[in-house]
Amino acid sequence: MSVAASSGDAASVAAASENSAALMLMRRHRFRWWEALPWIAGIALYLAFPDYLGFGCDLLVTILFALSLDLALGYAGIITLGHAAFFGAGAYTVGMLASYNLWTEPITSLLMAAAVAAAIGFLSGLVLLRTTGLTFLMLTICTMALLEQAANMAYPYTGGFDGLPSLPIAPVFGIFEFNPLYANTQYLFALGVLFVCFVFVRILVYSPFGQSLTGIRENVLRMHAIGSPVRRRLIVCYSISAALAGIAGGLWAQTTAYVNLSALGLDRAATVLIVLILGGYGRLYGAFVGAVVYLALEHFLAQIYPTAWQLGLGLLLVLIALFARNGILGLGETLWRRYVARRGAS
């Protein structure tokens, strides 16, 4: 009567396959039809709004950056205001390699950007992730500021405040050229990079590793108590997140053919945090929703009424912090649940 179930026991697996909770877990990673929508929309944007492809590139870069932050903050609960450090590391890697004509092939440049950013992420994570809370937040801000000032100090190489303009980028696959006037190649290239990175993140999130990150976020004390090597997981997560942010930064440099200190600023780090929270953190598509909403609003409002935009954004943040901490997707989920409950009750 008392023997605990042995693993893989046929009866248990059979029982599991009849239980809705177990089925849900087993099927969670399967593709749903609406997951194709963002990519269809991406192609539609290319076909329908050829004048907005510059904006489109900005959008895709922001989505990737927010996605990278989501991995660290949304899934593992690492609260950082310094993620632009990795964005900037990637941007400057690509930028300096291109500007001095050392390496201009776009795909491999991004891989190098990822490697540099991952290295910085690994080293800083190793040291910083010993701390938590406000101390950790401060350390991430200071690390980012440190890199920003280093780039400033090295202005003969980095261009300092003015940056490195007109970066030469070699054609993708040797065929598709980056035209500074028409962002067609840039946009499709960015879309492709985002797609590959997103697939990678999606696999990671549904993997056992991704699930354990959720556990660390939900109750780190419990994770220690079940034997989870928490620190190791956090450092790996932080490094991967840094790599992705580095790719976003490199992509930004490639699509705008420009890199400057703004890649490493607090402004950029705060904006990506806002974008992610707006969409909903800890959800794969929060970055997409947040980036679209934020950039669309900024594009249309900030140019006409910049002060009103700032006021509105401030109010929005206050409201989100008070009432809708899970962003647009979270709000949507809550409303959906209420709708389903009401339907079930009637």
């Binding site: 029982a15 239980n19 909770a21 177990a22 990673h29 034997g227 989870s228």
Partner: protein, 258 residues
């Protein structure tokens, strides 16, 4: 499996001037059903924290199956085979019951760090977790969020997670604490059905539970072992009564019979 599974030698822990745990020599054999009782503030939870690595001792050693684990971190000790439940639940409140137990099973199975295939494909892990839930009669709550369940059920999930780790030594810190008496039998039944080879140490205040469950009892007072014996011996011991007499109410051991 016989033999001493868990042992402490002169285990001490002080917080500044306060000696919370003083010179404890303790042995727990395989298959043991051992209760640890004592007035509030006696140092029982501190002792468990020392055993599991939440606290480091100021002096002394902890040995698990003969291996010195005194300097091992909490997570390492779990891998060596010692698990615990907490006095106040530490669950993943936003996740489902099944997910909670799967988290523990996955860690134990050593695949929780794998990155490149979906967790959902490991039907063996999910199956094992479901089997555990069924054994503890939690299967019908599997898809509910932990925060939606009554406290008694949550306490049971706390136990399920510890069992999922397949420990050799299981430390239960007041497993029925805070559970309404109507529900507490579920937990006690579950404890009774634990695998026989596991060495179990349970902190308790309720002498009913101690009588029902324990073969040996250790009484701890002011951080040191006061006396040790069978439940009957302890209950009849006048010194034990005296130690509890100063504390009225729930801290006093209540006899099962008048």
């Amino acid at each position: 499996m016989t033999g001493i599974r868990l042992e402490t030698q002169d285990l001490c822990r002080s917080f500044g001037a306060l000696a919370a745990v003083q010179g404890i020599d303790f042995k727990l054999a395989a298959g043991a059903r051992h209760a640890l009782i004592g007035p509030n503030g006696a140092g029982k939870t501190t002792f468990i924290n020392l055993l599991t690595g939440v606290l480091k001792p100021t002096r002394g050693r902890v040995l698990l199956g003969g291996r010195d684990i005194t300097s091992a971190a909490q997570a390492e000790r779990v891998k060596f085979g010692i698990a615990r439940t907490f006095q106040i639940n530490r669950l993943f409140r936003g996740l489902s019951v099944l997910e909670n137990v799967c988290m523990a099973v996955a860690e134990r199975a050593g695949m929780a760090g794998s990155m490149f295939y979906p967790a959902g494909r490991r039907t063996d892990v999910i199956g094992e977790a479901m089997g555990l839930l069924q054994m503890l009669k939690l299967a019908d709550t599997a898809r509910h969020r932990v925060s939606e369940l009554p406290y008694g059920r949550q306490r049971l999930i706390e136990l399920a997670i510890a069992i999922a780790l397949k420990p050799e030594v299981l430390l239960l810190d007041e497993p029925a604490a805070g559970v309404p008496s109507a529900e507490s039998h579920i937990i006690l039944d579950a404890i009774e059905r634990l695998p026989e080879h596991i060495a179990v140490l349970i902190i308790e205040h309720d002498m009913d539970v101690v009588f029902r469950f324990a073969k040996r009892v250790t009484v701890m007072v002011s951080g040191a072992v006061f006396v040790e014996g069978t439940p009957r011996e302890i209950e009849a011991d006048p010194q034990v009564r005296e130690v509890y007499l100063g504390q009225a109410g729930p801290a006093a051991p209540r006899a099962a019979h008048g």
